[in-house]
């Protein structure tokens, strides 16, 4: 069994798992990275990346057969022909809903790093302090200063484009040149800045789409195809495949094992340490044991917690980390799908060239500085402006040459934006094991019991109202506010369920992402989040993972693990 012994095991190969594998293997550890799904090789397996719209027999529409296979996915945009097969099989991997929860999962090497929105923002100082100040949930065990150098570190490697905007609410980082705002966005940005006397800003989105190449990593800058979700043959955006996996492979220290469902973390209750993991081979159903000195759990927020719940159950009924009473609790997401849009007059002699895979961003301004609302925390907006394409509204036209001519020319400019709001951690919002339902491999599934509450509902009113107010203040007419309604999970930013904290009685992880009851087990994906902020979370998972990996290796050397 010697070849089943490693220094470190990483469970999961998505954004945070890839970082764990890279950092640990670069520091000389022999690493095994386990992925429950199939392998996807960079470039070679991006089968749709060079297809054009007309190469898809259903022109990207979901078929009725697809909808039967994916009853959850079909609730929103992710079910389509171009990315079909890239989301977890819902029949083989069911879950149950006490309340509606849309869970979009990527079960393959790279996970959702191939399917993410790529917007990359730092949490700010206040984000790490607000829980403590406002007596919400528990205080983060770390402060901005603890993570700032790690943000620098991961931004530099991942390649984040953005401007240094000099705003406390959205700390600047190590950026490549930003993707530009277009002429209409710039104009509206200037008007908003003036109207709100510099208290509200429309800035370039900060995205992991690169504007400069990284030849040293074999990565080309973004080519503005906006086909990111088909896998980028240029390596133009950060994914496990384009970035962390090649770096980890280069060390010669990494073994990647796809089709490996980690069933439980093996726990030595006398030493209070994990000793390895037990794995089911997803193809053969055979069980394997792999041993290691440390385990990094990066299975995506809910599956990381699922794994803890299924581990050391002979010691704790609720599993490893459940002694706090918080394992599975404090589910968070970002609530969104509310905002405003407006037609923009003028700029008839302007258009855009290239398909920019990003847009503008409006950093949080509510409950910031002197602003006080009847709810806590805040929200940001993501949006963009552009001219209508062929599907613009020309309801007055019938059929024939006139219709064709009108549709073949661009329409008027419009601008729109959607709010992304912070969801408070709440003990009542939880996931738990539903042992009555099992997956294809006989493993118990997760049950979801999550809802947005009063604070979020109050905030949503502002999210719509403020968006309208900003566009109107910029001089736009016929501004339309909208709320397309939100169900938890739709943000695909699920967080919490194994939070970091200062006290083992109220948190699952300590300030270095170690499970209090098993210090050689680190959880560094979305599960660890103590609060959600309102910014897109993936960059923070990268930074926390790199920080924890560095700490883990030091602790190993000191003989503490």
């Amino acid at each position: 069994m010697a070849n089943n012994d490693y220094d470190a095991i990483v469970v999961g190969s998505g954004i945070s798992g890839g970082w764990a594998a890279k950092e640990l293997s670069e520091k000389g550890l022999k690493v095994l990275m386990l992925e429950r799904g199939k392998n996807i090789e960079h470039i070679k397996d991006y089968k749709n990346a060079h297809k054009e719209d007309w190469d898809f027999p259903h022109r990207d529409l979901a078929t009725q057969a697809m909808k039967i296979e994916y009853p959850v996915l079909k609730r929103d945009y992710p079910l389509n022909e171009k990315t079909y097969g890239m989301w977890a099989n819902e029949k083989e991997n069911p879950y149950t809903e006490d309340k509606r929860f849309d869970w979009y999962r990527g079960y393959h090497v790279g996970g959702r790093s191939l399917l993410w929105g790529r917007q990359s923002y730092r949490l700010n100082r206040e984000d790490f302090e607000a829980n403590g100040k406002e007596c919400i949930a528990v205080d983060w065990p770390i402060r901005y200063e603890d993570i700032a150098p790690w943000y620098d570190y991961v931004e530099k490697f991942a390649g984040i484009s953005g401007n240094r905007d000099g705003l406390d609410v959205l700390p600047d980082g190590i950026f490549q040149p930003a993707m530009a705002l277009n002429c209409v966005e710039k104009d509206v940005a200037a008007r908003v800045k003036k109207a709100f006397k510099g208290s509200r800003h429309i800035i370039s989105g900060r995205t992991s789409n690169m504007t400069e190449p990284k030849p040293e990593h074999g990565r080309v800058n973004c080519q503005y195809r906006n086909k990111c979700w088909l896998g980028c043959p240029f390596g133009g955006y950060f994914s496990t495949q384009s970035s962390t996996l090649p770096a980890a492979m280069k060390t010669g220290n990494l073994t990647l094992r796809p089709f490996s469902i980690v069933k439980e973390i093996l726990y030595d209750k006398d030493k209070k340490r994990a000793t390895g993991v037990e794995v089911i081979d997803a193809e053969t159903n055979q069980t394997y044991v792999f041993k290691s000195k440390i385990v990094f759990v990066n299975a995506s927020a809910f599956n990381s917690t699922w794994l803890l719940m299924n581990s050391a159950t002979d010691v704790w009924d609720g599993g490893l980390g459940s002694s706090s009473g918080e394992l599975g609790h404090n589910v968070m997401d970002h609530h969104f799908r509310v905002g405003a849009s407006a037609p923009v007059e003028g700029f008839e002699d302007k258009y855009t060239y290239g398909r920019r895979p990003s847009g503008f961003y409006v950093p949080r301004f509510r409950n910031w500085g002197n602003d006080k609302r009847d709810y806590l925390r805040g929200f940001g907006y993501q949006g963009g402006a552009g001219r209508g394409g062929w599907s613009k509204d020309v309801a007055e036209l019938g059929v024939g040459a006139g219709l064709k001519e009108t549709l073949s020319e661009p329409g008027d400019w419009t601008i729109g934006m959607t709010g992304f709001g912070e969801m408070l951690p709440d003990h009542e919002n939880r996931i738990y094991l539903n042992k009555k339902v099992t997956d294809k491999w006989g493993l118990p599934v997760l049950a979801m019991d999550v809802e947005i509450k009063e604070n979020e509902l109050k905030m949503r009113k502002d999210m719509q109202q403020d968006a309208m107010e900003m566009f109107e203040a910029a001089g736009l007419k016929n501004v339309q506010g909208w709320d397309a309604e939100y169900a938890p999970g739709m943000g695909i930013h699920e967080m919490g369920t194994a939070r970091m904290g200062r006290d083992p009685k109220t948190s699952v992880l300590n300030g270095h992402n170690q499970v209090w009851d098993a210090p050689n087990v680190f959880v560094t994906d979305g599960a660890c989040m103590t609060s959600a902020s309102c910014v897109n979370p993936s960059l923070t998972y990268m930074a926390l993972t790199a920080r924890a990996a560095s700490f883990a290796v030091e602790e190993l050397k000191r003989g503490n693990l």
Binding site: P57, D349, K350, D393, V399
Partner: protein, 205 residues
């Protein structure tokens, strides 16, 4: 970055030349055979003729050249709900009935003027019918299965379905996207202040 340097870098990164040439990593989707759609060759030809009335050949190609009928058959067969399928197919029968009532001939034997006149009439009727059912006025511009009726919800007028399918299948086709609209596979950069003069085509995507 110069194009030449870009190509060199891509070649280094991937081991294959990914831009242009024969080495593109295409994995062509198998087309859905017509026999799997329940539509006959004649019906596809009829759909092409109908599409051509909605988007005719002008100084640029029309619906027939894009073979929209073949794609429409696949989308109706695979993407439509039974309710939409039934509405669409009965609509085709109704069109021929209307042709005979108005002109004493079936659709394929009508002149171009007669076809256009009939479709404009149907278009007006469809818009009124949808409005009466409380459906969106701009339905014909949305994706063909974006909206689906539950058992209780009213289906849109069949002509709206025909028009929606024609527009979608045409503008997502190679002919529509590259000869009627503009399309650049690999733009390479972004210009948010790109000059435009009246008559310039819209981007396909």
């Amino acid at each position: 970055m110069q194009r030449r340097d870009l190509l060199k870098l891509i070649a280094t990164a991937t081991g294959t030349m990914m831009v242009g040439g024969q080495a593109l990593a295409y994995d062509l989707v198998q087309p859905v055979p017509l026999s799997d759609t329940g539509f006959s060759k004649d019906e596809v030809a009829l759909l092409n003729e109908m599409g051509e009335v909605i988007l005719p050949k002008t100084d640029t190609p029309g619906a027939k050249e894009a073979n929209v009928g073949a794609t429409m058959a696949v989308l109706v067969a695979d993407c439509y709900t039974p309710v939409l399928q039934k509405t669409f197919k009965q609509g085709l029968l109704d069109i021929n009935k209307r042709c005979k009532e108005a002109y004493g001939n079936e659709f394929l034997l009508l002149s171009a003027e007669q076809r256009t006149a009939l479709f404009n009439t149907l278009d007006t009727e469809a818009k009124a019918a949808n409005l009466a059912k409380g459906l969106s006025a701009n339905l014909e511009m949305s994706r063909p299965n974006h909206w689906e009726p539950g058992d209780a919800a009213p289906a849109p007028h069949y002509f709206t379905l025909l028009k929606q399918l024609t527009l979608y299948c045409f503008f997502t086709s190679k002919v529509g996207a590259t000869k009627v609209l503009r399309y650049v596979a690999i733009p390479g950069y972004y210009d948010g202040d790109f000059p435009y003069k009246k008559g310039d085509k819209a981007w396909a995507t």
